[in-house]
Symmetry: C3
Subunit: 480 residues, 3 copies
């Protein structure tokens, strides 16, 4: 197959997908989605009946965290993917597109499983549903990280449609059927999302990707842009892991645990990055990514009594493992396993996600009434209703089972969706057009020589001198 002949024209497919799916959303929302009792105008009467004050509306417990999570999804993930020298538009722009579609589809999918009011067959949404929709989208954005620069926006929309669907089923099995706890989604979001993306990347393997290797790196300012993403993810991760925890001590503890885990990760990331480079220089890729691994790993156990020193230990290990992953594993995976992972999500989400799942299982299994208090134990692990007879050790087993389900859904789902995305109808780029914004964006104006000239022009009297020196310079650099 001559890649040169690939057709990246998405002028019909992209508008069609956007308009048709958005119309479908309108119809499905019309049929199914209504406000829940805390966001409905009847709440004034309702709260008097329950003898609540306005401030006890769930909105005030969760809205600040929601906005932080929202920033992580759109600015955090978006800007983290601007690091390539010529794919910043695609990184932040397509992230924006698929997240905006994904949250709508997630409200429906998660609603059917978790928020369906059986009295009238409607899904009732409130602030917690918005947070969960953002979480659900995060799985797909993680998957995008492995495919960054190699797929078309239409492929990304398809990836999101199936990703959200798989996520909702997987989440229902893990949280509701298996009764695993996963407040920050180490298993449900990160493990699933990362293996979903890696499997798709394996299915879409491009043996000739080196043809666009000239664009597969960063420049100075694109690295600084990526730091915006890194820092907003890093700073708001405590909100991510605490956003849907229990009111009160649950949210409080989850924020503290995540904060500590992340702090510890930064130091070991710097240590390993420096240790493996000549002269101990730091690598921006590690600082941008591995520093976040602690937040991923703190997800499942965030609301447990992980203890402050426990958090630091988890963060310590994640920083080491994730950075080593970038140094040794990513090249190995590309060469031997034929998995091309643009952003290194295996190091940032997959491995730390699995670690998080294991930490969650161990912490749950070792929970005791002494540490949690009786009510605290029931409250934290939700040993109520049909699960009222569960004990910590069995909970630990259920956590481990949850991790396996996440892995299976990620890998299995990724292979199936990858097969679909291989169809030659989605407008994906040729091997030498990858990582290039010109493929899908109009009028990409790189800071160029022409503008340079028009400026110099003002200061110097001799145009030919200017051009000549410039010419010489370019000739030399060509010969390098």
């Amino acid at each position: 197959m001559c890649d040169r002949e690939k057709d990246t024209n998405v002028r019909l497919s992209l508008p069609a997908v956007c308009v048709v799916w958005q119309t479908a959303m309108i119809i499905l929302f019309g049929v199914f989605i209504r406000y829940d009792h805390e966001s409905d105008a009847h709440w004034v009467e309702h709260r008097k009946h329950l003898n609540l004050t306005d401030i006890e509306n769930d909105f005030y417990f969760r809205y600040p965290s929601f906005q932080d999570v929202h920033v992580m999804i759109f600015v955090g993930f978006g800007f983290l993917m601007t690091f390539l020298k010529r794919y910043s538009f695609g990184g932040v722009g397509f992230n924006f597109l698929i997240a905006a579609f994904g949250i709508q589809w997630a409200l429906l999918m998660q609603g059917w499983f978790h928020s369906l009011d059986y009295t009238d067959g409607k899904i009732k949404i409130g602030i917690e549903n918005l947070i969960n929709a953002d979480f659900c989208v995060a799985g797909c954005l993680i998957a995008y990280g492995a495919l960054l620069g190699k797929v078309s926006p239409v492929q990304l929309m398809v990836l999101t449609l199936f990703g959200i669907t798989l996520f909702a089923v997987e989440e229902f099995i893990i949280l509701s059927l298996i009764h695993a706890r996963d407040a920050g989604g180490s298993m449900v979001i990160h493990t699933f999302g990362a293996y979903y993306g890696l499997s798709i990347s394996w299915m879409l393997y491009r043996p000739n990707l080196h043809q666009s290797s000239r664009l597969q790196g960063s420049v100075y300012h694109s690295d600084v842009f990526a730091m915006i993403g890194t820092l907003f993810l890093w700073m708001f991760w405590p909100s991510f892991n605490s956003a849907i925890c229990d009111h009160g001590d649950g949210q409080h503890r989850a924020a503290i645990n995540t904060y500590l885990c992340l702090a510890s990760t930064v130091l070991t990331t710097v240590a390993i990055s420096s240790l493996f480079q000549k002269h101990g220089k730091l690598d921006m890729v590690h600082i941008q990514n591995s520093t976040l691994a602690g937040g991923v790993a703190a997800g499942t156990a965030a609301e447990f009594m992980l203890m402050p020193y426990g958090c630091l230990i988890v963060g310590f290990c994640c920083g080491v493992i994730s950075t080593l992953g970038y140094i040794f594993l990513t090249p190995f995976m590309e060469k031997r396993l034929k998995i091309q992972d643009t952003c290194g999500i295996h190091n940032l989400h997959a491995m730390p996600g699995v670690i998080g799942g294991i930490v969650g299982a161990v912490t749950a299994a070792s929970a005791s009434v002494e540490v949690y208090g009786h009510e605290g134990l029931v409250n934290t692990f939700d040993f109520e209703g049909k699960f009222k007879d569960m004990v910590p050790t069995t909970q630990g087993g259920h956590q481990a089972a949850g991790l396996c389900v996440a892995l299976c859904f990620g890998i299995g789902g990724g292979i199936i969706v990858g097969a679909i995305l291989r169809l030659p109808i989605w407008g994906d780029p040729a091997d030498d057009d990858c990582f290039d914004d010109e493929t899908y964006w109009e009028d990409v104006r790189i800071c160029n020589v022409k503008s340079e000239v028009s400026r110099l022009d003002l200061n110097g009297p001799l145009p030919c001198f200017l051009s000549f020196s410039h010419w010489t310079k370019m000739f030399i650099s060509y010969n390098q």
Copy 2:
């Protein structure tokens, strides 16, 4: 008139305006402004008297939203205007200046109309006043969008002084006299602000603006900077529309409605942008701006029972209309109507604002006790005091009247202020100096050959040696 002769020296006028007006603010604040009962030290006694807990201080209901709105005003609007290749300083810097002045003047103007304590003649301010001041400033920042790159900072200060004054009067008429509801300010902020700016731009029409057309575009990284503005506006718009809604379900519902509206807008913006370009490529201008139109249009009806599917429909339409506006209307307005609209605020604020006003009127007119509950209806539409006999249908009429008032104030005020700004005393730039930071900023160092030269220059005294040393350096680095 030979534009070349325009004097852009603002060394007297800018410091004079800043110092004199700031001094006036100090005097007026001294005479008029005090803390309200929730921010005064007497509150400790006060709350015991009312049997409230600390958490029921209005601060905790509104502060998270306030900070989000604050980010929208300074980072959102500021960075959205950095998209021009050589006017990023002016975009974010002058935005900063006029917003900082505007919030002070707004506290006074809005205070006289809304927060005056008649017992002592003082304006009592709390967190809600700060939010309203930010809202008030938003109107002027929107107007700045039409004028970006074509006016001096002194003109912007004048625009803000009059803009805030007009805003406060218009707002008082619409909200208090007419009793229209406008939580997110589709009419009061966006329609007014946009037509105010467009009218001024019409009055300041520059027939020879093409002389600086070389600078009237973006470069790669300035577009990425603008995406910071876009995303912070997009993410925090739910806070904007819910910030001053009723405690409890009002704020909760407004946030959900805006979130859904915005999600839907992104998809139709992408669809239309792709449909009208060769090969279906996306245009960054549309992604940066039209994706926000849904937030504007959700403003008036944000706290009404617009229903989730209703929000998606509003967003759908706004994405389509706003993007089509950028493609067809902006060039038409510039050519035929002599309105030069740098940021396309007609597409982002004016049209969606009017749509928002209409949606608000229709939603209000069709409100029913069935949907809202009796108390909910009274609460949502504030049918109390002298308006206790109003019904939804009359409310709908009042909403429509409010929209007309906003339009009249915007267009009328803009023409008058535009006439004032045409006086040749404000230091505005010549036609071929527009969109250029060098006009008002010291020492603008573009990443270029010149800076390279000025660097090398330090090492050698001779210009030819300069080129030679550069050549040598490169030759050496080649041979390394």
Copy 3:
């Protein structure tokens, strides 16, 4: 000493410091740190006992402010230091590293002084401790501002270790022993941090720093990056100053005071910046820094009844003094006092911090029952326990004493730590390697001509044609 021979290899020292200190943190956290009663799983029982609702958990009073402060520390301080053309990685990256280490050490140091539970010898942490840890780190980040570009990451780690230690002792003396109030840390954070950094800079004076003067400036886009830092600091400063104030009116008033102070500062900064430049052009350095001086000065008196007009006056003065400092004082200090202050922290933190301390002393001394109410006075100044007999005038004296302590600790501590940092073992850069990311970062890829060439290369097969076409293009664009 021949600077050329300096060894900037940190391949052993940096990993060693990171790993050993992080391990020490784990051990110390294991021995000392536990959850406090509001973040412990026992809280469910605890709150029922106290008859509290979940929303009265301190988490909900402070978490939104905490996240804002967190953004200031990592994005605000980090990006403010990206302004140098070639030291953006170092600015934002090393800021990240030392803040992540500092918050852990601060939790311990501050914990021993303020949160030690004497019943079991453990430090009990909650959300307020996290905020205080961020505050504590701010002092060290301010100090980094004076040293930006001239020190190695290992030196920064040492600076942070000692800085946090000194901070905790100084804070204990000022707040607990002297009983000064300092909600926003004008004295404790800014005065201390700035003089600590300036003293270190004086000890590390580099007479030949001009050798890297080519890099000691900004480029266009690095200035825009720095504006991200400026704006996030400016916007969230009200959260900084109110974060640990009393619940209710205290936090409310502190936010309002800071907001007003900052607004006023912007106008006078612009005025002075314009007044002292040819043609009244603005200087980005002033806009980036001096606009923040009002927030620093509002720190101590933030929760006092400073009155809105009082805030505007403080802001007015700070804008003037800070900008004049950049114009006159910074060059003077470098030449005469041998203090090289890269970011001008003397103008942004030191002088405004001292002003803030004085404003706090005056405001406290002039407090009256009439203005505060009896309970309000006791509540605001914490005239309880062994300080129950204090009156405002004595409180004013104590405030002034606090300021002196902060100055002494800053200058004295800085001289001692500076002496330690002069040891030739820390891998600091040579004089002509300062302000250059290539010293400590791998693979720094400046946007350059070479990448342009590699692109053009694709269009033409012949190297000389390539250069020729480029030459032609440049010639044509010149003639346009």
